[in-house]
């Protein structure tokens, strides 16, 4: 049914779906969305420019701060790119530890997303449950790395810390608990009417569109396309650890939920396998601080999908060019396609459906409170400002 007149509804930058600023301009006909224009960049921090100013060691931590949730995926990708340039391989034990941390991160990210998704459809009990159980993963990660969010586990040439035999029983115990809970959640999701009504056949992305619009990660896999960097382009120890690529044919938000739940279970099994089969030996290879000229492309399956880093070095201690493409940006065209023909009320859950992380793709916008002027600053000029106030040198 058409009302004949098209109304433009701005959605964001501050919007109910997520705690991150992003702007979408919806053109709606009655209750039906007919067109959508994304406008990203509210979180743009000029990180790619900042990469060129820092040494390779400092950039590990900068890469980690591209995103708060998939911090490990970004550092893995970064360190792999540099290792590729240096022509060295991380030792086997380090690669297993990378897998363990990456999969723990995936569990934590997916359960965080599931919580948000059910929160968007107003099912807050489920949200509380999920986030309570997510604490178990966070605690393991803190135990392994010393921090809940920014693990700083990876370094160029390996990992910084070992997973000692004392903490392995604790990890196994938490994994058992998580497995039990996740199975319960899958059962609950399938049987809960509230969830089914709000998510089945909502935000449909057909397999053909998904491939054409270059969607990645669980969004793509929920459209029935079997595509996973871990399996297709194995890095770390993924070529030695058996796992299934979880897909679903529903093409809607519900199947995206199921795919992520399935991936949590798959991750739990992978961590168990990795802990059992972890080889002994070196943790890291010491690397020179200067990198010889060259270029490398590194890919990692972040919790949200394919993450790609490109690095070009010029022989000095700082990279010449660093490019980051986070999975959320790749999913935006697909997201826009999903909106077409949907109801306005479903916008939050569809938007949340791709598990967007806008911090990953953007830049910092600053409002100077004193003059009330809006200023766009990248990270460097931000630090320059702080420096001016403080009058001290930033190395």
């Amino acid at each position: 049914m058409s009302y004949g007149s098209i109304v433009k509804v701005p959605f964001g930058p501050q919007h109910p779906a997520l705690k991150e600023p992003e702007h979408f301009l919806f053109e709606i006909d009655g209750e039906i969305i007919v067109n959508v224009k994304p406008r990203i960049g509210y979180n743009h921090r000029g990180i790619e420019k900042a990469f060129e100013r820092r040494t390779y060691i400092q950039n590990i931590y900068l890469a980690e701060r591209i995103c708060g949730i998939c911090s490990d995926a970004h550092t893995t990708c970064y360190t792999q790119a540099i290792e590729d340039l240096l022509g060295l391989d991380a030792p086997p034990r380090a690669r297993y530890i990378r897998v363990i941390v990456a999969e723990l991160e995936r569990i934590h990210s997916h359960s965080l997303w599931l919580g948000i998704a059910v929160h968007e459809i107003g099912f807050d009990t489920f949200f509380m449950y999920l986030w309570r159980d997510r604490e178990a993963v966070m605690d393991i990660l803190e135990l392994i790395s010393g921090n809940r969010v920014h693990y700083a586990m990876n370094t160029i040439g390996g990992v910084r810390r070992d997973i000692t035999p004392e903490i392995i029983p604790k990890i196994i115990r938490s994994l058992d608990f998580l497995e039990k809970r996740t199975k319960y959640y899958m059962k609950a999701l399938r049987s809960e009417r509230t969830v089914l009504k709000r998510t089945v056949d909502v935000g449909v992305l057909k397999p053909k569109d998904a491939v054409e619009l270059c969607a990645v990660g669980p969004t793509l896999r929920a459209s029935g396309v079997k595509n996973d960097v871990r399996g297709d382009d194995p890095y770390a120890a993924y070529d030695e650890i058996p796992f299934n690529i979880v897909t679903d044919d529903g093409c809607d938000v519900f199947s995206r939920m199921l795919v992520r739940c399935g991936e949590i279970l798959e991750s739990i099994n992978m961590i168990r396998y990795a802990l059992d089969h972890m080889p002994s030996g070196m943790l890291r290879v010491r690397m020179p601080m200067a990198v010889k000229p060259g270029e490398a492309v590194s890919r990692v399956e972040a919790p949200r999908g394919e993450l790609i880093h490109y690095v070009k070095s010029n022989g000095s201690t700082r990279p010449e060019r660093y490019k980051v493409r986070s999975p959320t940006l790749a999913n935006i065209p697909a997201l826009c396609r999903m909106f077409i023909g949907q109801h306005v009320a479903d916008i939050p859950i569809i938007l949340a459906g791709i598990d967007p992380c806008f911090a990953c793709m953007d830049r910092l916008v600053f409002i100077d409170v004193k003059t009330n002027k809006r200023k766009s600053l990248d990270f460097e000029s931000f630090s320059e400002m702080v420096r001016k106030q403080r009058n001290f040198r930033l190395a």
């Binding site: 931590y61 604490e135 010393g146 810390r161 403080r390």
Partner: protein, 114 residues
């Protein structure tokens, strides 16, 4: 019906949350907290200041006379300084409550006592 059983089950259990300022959990072993300098071991090489990813460490002077300023508000708690220090002069402490109203009190200075 299931929800009632579930609700009763959880009513009998302790709350999951901790009443934070009154109850505290100790951070696990190996926690990356605030770095602290042992100036008796520091040789003033300046590596921590140069390698810090966020520029939170400032070194004034060289060698034995060096003074370290650590800006906690800029610190990432990555532990790279402690890892790079050749003489183990930097240790990561367990404290994590660094929030203050004023930035000026978030600067820690370390000087060698003579």
């Amino acid at each position: 019906m299931a929800i009632i059983a579930e609700a009763i089950k959880w009513l009998l259990k302790h709350p999951v949350t901790i009443k934070y300022p009154f109850e505290r959990e100790a951070p696990p072993k190996g926690f990356r907290g605030r770095p602290v300098w042992d100036m008796h071991r520091c040789i003033g090489c300046g590596l921590c200041s140069r390698i810090c990813p966020s520029g939170a460490i400032e070194i004034i002077g060289r060698g034995q006379e060096a003074k370290i300023k650590h800006y906690v508000d800029r610190c990432l708690f990555c532990g790279q300084c402690s890892e790079s220090c050749p003489r183990n002069a930097i240790k990561l402490m367990n404290d994590f409550e660094h929030a203050r109203y004023n930035r000026d009190v978030m600067i820690y200075e370390y000087k060698r006592e003579t």
